[in-house]
Amino acid sequence: MNFLSKENGLLSWLLTGDHKRIAILYLISITFFFFIGGALAGLIRLELLTPQADLMATDTYNKVFTMHGIIMIFFFLVPSVPATIGNFLIPMMIGAKDLALPKINLLSWYLYMAAGMLGLYTMITGGVDTGWTFTTPLSTHYVNTNVLTTGLAVFIAGFSSIFTGLNFIVTIHKMRCPGMTWFKLPLFVWANYAASILMVLGTPVLAITIVLVALERTIGIGVFDPAKGGDPILFQHLFWFYSHPAVYIMILPGMGVISEVISTFSRKRVFGYTAVAFSSVAIAIFGFFVWAHHMFIMGISNYSVIVFSLLTMLVAVPSAIKIFNWTFTLYKGSITFETPMLYAFGFMGLFTIGGMTGVFLGTSGTDIHLTETYFIVAHFHFVMVGGMLMAFLSGVHFWWPKMTGRMYPEKISQLAAVVTFIGFNFTFFPQFILGTLGMPRRYASYPPEFQVLNVFSTAGASILGVGYLLPVLYLTWSLKYGAVAGDNPWQATGLEWQTQSPPLTENFAVTPIMDHEVYDYEWLEGQKAKEVASVR
């Protein structure tokens, strides 16, 4: 008996309050949206194979990259790790039976689906071409596409993310099992806690901004319209006040996954646990005060530029701290190279590049040349695809045995990780050079001398596509044919591994007691020894 087999039928899923079932609903839905967003990315790369805008009209191209951005950011990246892996595991990691507010959790998923379906409907009935940034006055006065419905979709999706964040915060504060102090929390929980704070405090600002855009578009209140005494720069401030923290909402939970995976496969507690935990919190706090680095060339005052550039440098430091702590977790470990670990290594390399190139953009002088070009596209994708998506895949493989009770096939998964890594670099590395050369982003056509690098990028994207399709195939296969996993196939220390796979609906037969340190591999050895002794 487990949470999957306890009840059957569609309704038992659609009305469930079980965080694990909701996590699986999320996993299926975000995978669906990921492949739609991915197909749109494919169209972008095909168009950019040649310098002319020949595959589609420029209007269509504009809609395609807008929808790619909106779907990937709001319907994949933001909910990806927290709503799937986080939803499934946070209660188990802290020894709880469920999240604090199971019905709100289900509501989150319904809001997400409603928003997603509205987004798709918008896309099918004409799309939107404002770019995912909804820049005013383009979005308020100049385009005649579905700005309002898309805005509504993002607005609703925002509430889904607020509810998830709220649920995590309450759960982590109130539902920890006996003995689970804050400094015994797995780093995955710390990372999701930090991301939840950002979701709860940041998302409402996005919601307000969208409402203002809608009011401006419909009744012309003029908050952003200079002709009515409004200020279009204000929109930029409000939008980035959410959207910069949003990138930390997206990356922090991924960092949490990497901490768990690296510890488990080097059989060692995470080096500098407190430093890693506090660096998540530091990122969340500093992350709120760097938004204007998106506006260095927009005519904000020189003093603002100084302050925001300096704060941006400070937010880069905790990420560097994390990278070095993960590296030293390997030191004197006992390392194995299963798929989650390969993805984690990929994450570390690509995130280091993504982070460093972020410093290029946070440095005010070089930002002038590099912003609004393919350099920023490459930087963002190194962090979000090279970082976040690698972390997501690492996490999905790592916890797949716990979620489904089955092992994924190791060899082909390792192959998929390597293919993804190679495809990724081929796709996005050339874009750094294109950006340095000055190729602007969001161009359907470009000067012919940029073609060679664009062809590289498109070729890489097709390899990357294969890398993403493989897991869908073999993970689905493994549901039926995968080896039975057992409770703790990785010999990991987290509480989630000390119960059966797949878990019971109430997670644990007996409420666990956290009587050892976090990442305590010696305790785990002791437990095993005891079990062997009791069998004899």
């Binding site: 191209y61 060692k268 590296t327 002088g365 002038i368 050369l437 060679v452």
Partner: protein, 358 residues
């Protein structure tokens, strides 16, 4: 970048430029910005190499076969401090270095030539003070500081010249500025880099850098007969501005002579520097900017004058300032086509690229 490592540097940049892996350096700021860029590339490569070397060597030394039992280590305050302080120090160097370049790009020197640029869906229109207009192209001479005053007539655009390493957003409703000093004659890309709707990717053009002699010829060939200020004067007359702004003792509006560059006392008690942005605002939104001693009777010209019209009015009012005219004549005579502009009546003097008063 000749002052850093002349031979090697020039060789590297030339090689990368030849293979279209690096943009040409065609302005004075470009090599300075590239020095910082390559410093950051170097730091990134060193950082990445350290991480890769450590991960690889730990993976070899401590893989399960070779090292079956892990040694548990809490952490190390010394190491934590090391990898906090060293990156922080490097980032701060980049921050300071970058800020210095940033200030250089956006603070024009006193003797720069001003060219107005209006962005609109989907074209760039440049207005030279001599009255020359161009669309999706910009002609500039080498060896001279050139300031662009940008504005958008509709949505956000962004004026980007990769070969100069400069870029500035053109914003609806306010002027922004950027400056550069071209160094190498040639034709370079001009891009709009801020997404601005359907034909965004066609909002491109070229920047033509010419030697001062060629530039002089170009100015003479492209003249439209009237300078920007003369256009402004005509507009000033047709809008009947002089009905109030006529410098008579009983005038209902303040005299505009020598207003530009002065500190104005406003009726709301504040003072303001009468720069380009102020003049524009005072034309479009006069009730917010009433000069002390006058009544708020001026109607708004919002929607009645195009951005180009406002620019010519602003340029005309600037030319009513004697300081501005003096600066202009002393600094631009070498660019005037032969026999022109040397002895013109004060109000119509500025046929040629003007100097911006600081």
């Amino acid at each position: 970048m000749s002052h850093i490592s002349p031979v090697l540097w020039q060789y590297l940049v030339k090689w990368m430029t030849d293979f279209a892996l690096f943009p040409p350096e065609a302005s004075k700021i470009a090599p300075q910005m590239d020095a910082l860029y390559f410093f950051m590339v170097l730091v990134s490569l060193v950082g990445l190499t350290i991480v890769i070397l450590l991960v690889t060597s730990f993976s070899i030394l401590y893989n399960k076969e070779r090292h079956p039992v892990a040694v548990q280590i809490e952490g190390s305050t010394l190491l934590e401090a090391t990898w906090t302080i060293i990156p922080l120090g490097l980032f701060l160097i980049m921050f300071v270095w970058g800020a210095l370049i940033y200030f250089r790009v956006y603070n024009p020197p006193a003797n720069s030539m001003n060219i107005y640029v209006v962005g609109k869906q989907w074209m760039w229109k440049a207005e030279h003070p001599g009255g020359q207009h161009e669309i999706n192209s910009l002609h500039v001479p080498t060896g001279r500081a050139i300031q662009l005053t940008l504005i958008s007539q509709d949505v956000f655009h962004s004026f980007s010249i990769p070969a100069f390493r400069v870029k500035r957003e053109a914003i609806p409703g306010r002027y922004t500025t950027v400056w550069f000093e071209p160094t190498v004659p040639g034709t370079y890309h001009l891009f709009c880099t801020q997404y601005c709707g359907t034909e965004h990717s066609h909002m491109i053009g070229e920047v033509v850098v010419m030697t001062p002699d060629d530039y002089k010829k170009w100015l003479a060939e492209s003249t439209s007969g009237m300078s920007l200020a003369q256009n402004g004067e005509r507009l000033f007359a047709s809008l009947s501005c002089a009905a109030c702004h006529n410098a008579r003792p009983d005038a209902r509006g303040p005299s505009l002579a020598n207003v530009y560059g002065s500190k104005l006392a406003l009726s709301n008690g504040g003072t303001v520097l009468a720069d380009d942005a102020y003049l524009r605002e005072a034309i479009l939104n006069p009730s917010q900017h009433v000069t002390q001693g006058y009544s708020p009777i001026m109607p708004t010209y919002q929607g009645q004058v195009s951005e180009e019209g406002v620019i010519s009015l602003v340029e005309y009012i600037k030319n009513l300032s004697s300081d501005y005219r003096v600066q202009q004549t002393t600094n631009t005579t070498d660019l005037l086509p032969e026999g022109e502009g040397k002895a013109m009546p004060a109000a119509t003097a500025p046929v040629k690229p003007g100097m911006v008063k600081q």
